[in-house]
Amino acid sequence: MTDRAIATPPTAPTPLEPPALSPANQAVLTQLTRKDFVSDQEVRWCPGCGDYSILAQTQKVMPDFGYPKENIVFISGIGCSGRLPYYMNTYGFHSIHGRAPTLATGLKAARPDLMVWVITGDGDALSIGGNHVLHSMRRNVDIKLVMFNNRIYGLTKGQASPTSELGKRTKSTPDGTIDHPIMPLSVALAAEATFVARSVDTHTEHLQQTLERAGRHRGSAFTEVLQNCNIFNDGAWRSFTDREVRDDRMLVLEHGRPMLFGKDRDRGIRLRGLHPEVVQLGVDGVAEDDILVHDEHAEDPYLAFMLSRMFFPDFPVPVGVIRDVERPTHDELLSAQLAAAVEQRGEGDLEKLLNGGETWTVEPDDRP
């Protein structure tokens, strides 16, 4: 295991190619800025909501992909997060609770030329839409799914969500929830997602980089954004995301670099048997060589899965790209099957199809 993690990573996957553009369009594109992605709709989240930051970072990274804005589509489910498409000056579809990945799957199958983002919440993605998240990921549908995780149902005013911690008291769980929470990144990995990442609404720089990485990934990209709902679950992540503590309580992952953290980068993650362990450099003879090296591109998901389960307070919370591997996408495979069918059987001939099977002819007769 340790060996694998330290082994040289395979070459990085090819980034998503933007569509071929005429020079004139290319010129227009390079001029696109954040502003071009701001729609004329008034943003209506509660003042102070983490969603504002996610929206701003999303708008900021959009010009970087080289896609004309008409080729970008945002599809959402229902929840506070679901409003985001209205605020993007691209094509947008605010669908129904939990089902955004299904619309995205059909759209992407029909239109491989589009860049499709799915915006969802922890309830939307993991409760009602759990099944669809699972299947869109295992099919490697080329969608960039961004899940806003505020550990609560915002839009319906504060009920427990599938990520709420055990014992959480909410309107629907006055005596504390008795449902064990789900680890979103573990779910994504179990569903065979080819890209899995995590970031935080308030860490704007990091969020921007992470969204950009997700956007460039070809295939199913699952990004969890820890988001603050200051109305119904204020400070849900503060214990490890606050400026004063985050260096010690979060682990910023970088490909090919040892998993070190702490203000002085003097603590790290070591593997002991099958378990991760937090160690201090220089203590008990621990050297940098003992620290696990992050490999996003590892084909097997074991270490990625381990990272997905590390959480505060037992561990620093990993953020960044946990996994980024290559696999053919659903729309590529589908298009290839269609092309192969045409190759083998020729372009379909309707007249022939209608006249297929056993046919016979009835001659005109002069019986009454």
Binding site: T102, G106, A110
Partner: protein, 617 residues
């Protein structure tokens, strides 16, 4: 072998029912006889009837599988009320079907299967072949299993494999009895078992042995001939409703220049549409086996949003799951075809049995007023036309359209006059590309359809979704008057389709004593009943609805032209409820929900009662 020269009797129509254990290959036997009769030029109509269990215990009553077919020298509309001949491969098949055989009917049984164990399994205390209980029928007990086994002597096969070919023996015998050529079936066997020559040889031998048995035995004193039917000239093929449905969609895709995206989750009896469309990739058809019905319709809506022809197919339980998404499609006003191949019963019901009881579900089974167009084919061949029509309406009006087929249409077959591609109309649909004056919820003044502006079109970036739309701009709106107006507009758009569909035609007198009004797969039984009643001089007409929302413009006028209106349905009065509510006509409901199509005689009796003003029950 000396040929026996037996007298041949000309018949106009024959109805055969093959019945056996579900492992006995009765569906195959029935299908082969159907093909042969169709290719010969008979009009045909079929009714497969099989258990939902893949393999119920062998020889048990729930395991009985049947296939009824009617072939005729005249135009027929149904697979026949009652069989003239029942072929029963075991005691269970006899027990389950004998009630339908009229006195004097012919009964061919596999005598070998009437063992004490098999008899005991289905509760026969005595062997019915010997106790006189079958005396009202003409019984032909034939040791099919052993005769068949003997004819396969010398082939390297297990006893079990040998036994599996006995259906071909029975088929061969029926081919001899009705003077039908074995050639189409022999060709089929050769083709089907190319890779397994021993099996091919065994099936061919079994078929020929059955035929030869008919010829040599003294058992049969006559054989029968049913002359080719007098059908409109042209090229025909034998087609089931599900096949015709798939072809109709492919044709509509070609004629509209829109590639099909079909998202579906397997469910009986709709799965075959998914199977068939999956084989049409060279027509640009993309199919997607979704994780559930909700994903299936979601993906179809996504594909339509992208400019493709989004379609999804299922049966009643699946429609229940799709309702929320159908509502979304109503709100975003995108073209979408939703296929409901209805089956019997609420919940899982009787998956392989027939019913037409989802009409109210598809019309009203959603939150709020949520109008969609609804069409229903009348016969297996009509599935082609109505599938095409569903696409035309969806694309022209930017609306979800529900296509209501059913189990009887889906699996039943009839000869189909193949249309020429040139005779099919073009379906013209444009995407909006013009930026000037673009609003996502502008409406075409004639159709009230909104523009279809697909992602990838520069300058038309806009947002849609399930929240109420402001008229014209499509922005989210909670304005009370706007909501009222939008509800009316959505309703008016669907109602307006009435100006664009054929008026309802009436078979029989244009005014008179009784109108029988039907929809869907009951067409054949109702039409035959009307023919019989008219033949006896009664003033009875038949009209059949293929558009159920909106209704044809002239329906109200037609209803007012008859003293009484009878509505037979395989549900508990759903169309009758609509007609009564909409037209204030005191329609008489006639309902039978037994998982089976109507018998012609049932409708004749109901009509006679209605004519006399008696209550129909």
């Amino acid at each position: 072998m000396a040929e026996r020269h037996l007298p041949t009797q000309e018949l106009e129509r024959v109805t055969i029912r093959f019945a056996g254990d579900s492992g006995d290959g009765m569906q195959l036997t029935g299908t082969q006889f159907t093909r042969t009769a169709a290719v010969f030029g008979n009009d045909i109509s079929t009714l497969p009837d099989f258990p939902a269990e893949i393999r119920a215990p062998a020889g048990s009553l729930p395991g009985v599988s049947g296939f009824q077919l009617s072939f005729s020298s005249t135009d027929i509309h149904t697979p026949g009320d009652q069989p003239d001949v029942l072929v029963a491969m075991n005691p269970a098949a006899l027990k389950a079907n004998i009630g339908d055989l009229p006195a004097g009917g012919a009964l061919i049984v596999n005598e070998d299967a009437f063992t004490p164990t098999n008899l005991h399994k289905v509760g026969y205390a005595e062997n019915p072949l010997h106790d006189g209980t079958l005396s009202q029928y003409t019984v032909f007990p034939i040791p099919i299993s052993s005769l068949n086994a003997r004819s396969l002597d010398g082939l390297e096969m297990s006893n079990k494999q040998i036994d599996l070919t006995k259906n071909f023996f029975a088929l061969g015998l029926m081919f001899w009895l009705y003077e039908r050529s074995m050639d189409p079936t022999l060709r089929w066997i050769e083709d089907r078992f190319k890779a397994r020559p021993v099996i091919a040889e065994a099936n061919a031998r079994a078929l020929k042995a059955g035929y030869a048995f008919g010829e040599t035995t003294e058992m049969f004193h006559t054989h029968y001939r049913v002359a080719p039917a007098h059908l409109p000239p042209g090229r025909y093929r034998n087609i089931t409703g599900n096949e015709a449905t798939a072809l109709g969609f492919v044709a509509a895709s070609r004629k509209s220049g829109r590639p099909i995206f079909y998202g579906s989750y397997p469910i009986t009896p709709a799965s075959d549409i998914l199977h068939l469309l999956s084989g049409y990739k060279h027509f640009g058809v993309k199919t997607f086996q979704a994780e559930d019905e909700i994903a299936a319709i979601g993906s179809a809506i996504g594909a339509s949003y992208g400019g493709a022809l989004g379609m999804t197919g299922t049966s009643g339980p699946g429609i229940a799951l799709k309702s929320e998404a159908i509502g979304l499609a109503v709100m975003v006003e995108l073209p979408l075809v939703v296929i409901d191949v209805q089956r019997a019963g609420p919940s899982t019901g009787m998956p392989t049995k027939n019913e037409q009881a989802d009409l109210l579900q598809v019309l009203f089974g959603r939150n709020s007023d949520s109008p969609v167009a609804v069409v229903a084919p009348a016969t297996p061949g009509d599935c082609f036309d109505m599938a095409f029509e569903a696409v035309r309406i969806a694309l022209t009006y930017m609306t979800p359209v529900i296509y209501l087929s059913d189990a009887f249409l889906a699996t039943g077959a009839e000869p189909w006059l193949i249309p020429s591609v040139a005779s099919l109309p073009e379906i013209g649909v444009e995407n909006r590309t013009e930026r000037a004056g673009f609003h996502p919820y502008d409406r075409d003044p004639k159709t009230l359809a909104r523009p279809w502006a697909v992602p990838g079109t520069p300058g038309l970036e806009h947002r849609i979704g399930g929240l109420e739309k402001a008229d014209v701009t499509g922005n989210v709106s909670y304005d009370p008057d706007n909501h009222h107006r939008m509800q009316l507009l959505r309703q008016a758009k669907i109602a307006g389709i009435a100006n664009d569909i054929p008026e309802l035609t009436v078979f029989g007198p244009q005014r008179g004593d009784l109108l029988i009004l039907g929809w869907g797969s009951t067409y054949g039984s109702i039409r035959s009943a009307a023919e019989r009643l008219q033949a006896t001089g009664q003033s009875v007409a038949h009209a059949h609805l293929r558009h159920l929302n909106p209704f044809p413009r002239n329906l109200g006028t037609i209803l007012s032209n008859y003293r009484r209106v009878l509505i037979p349905e395989i549900n508990l009065g759903q169309l009758a409820l609509l007609v009564r509510g909409r037209y204030l006509v005191d329609a008489i409901s006639y309902d039978r929900v037994r998982g089976k199509p109507f018998r012609i005689t049932e409708i004749v009796e109901a009509a006679e009662a209605a004519l006399e003003g008696k209550t129909v029950s």
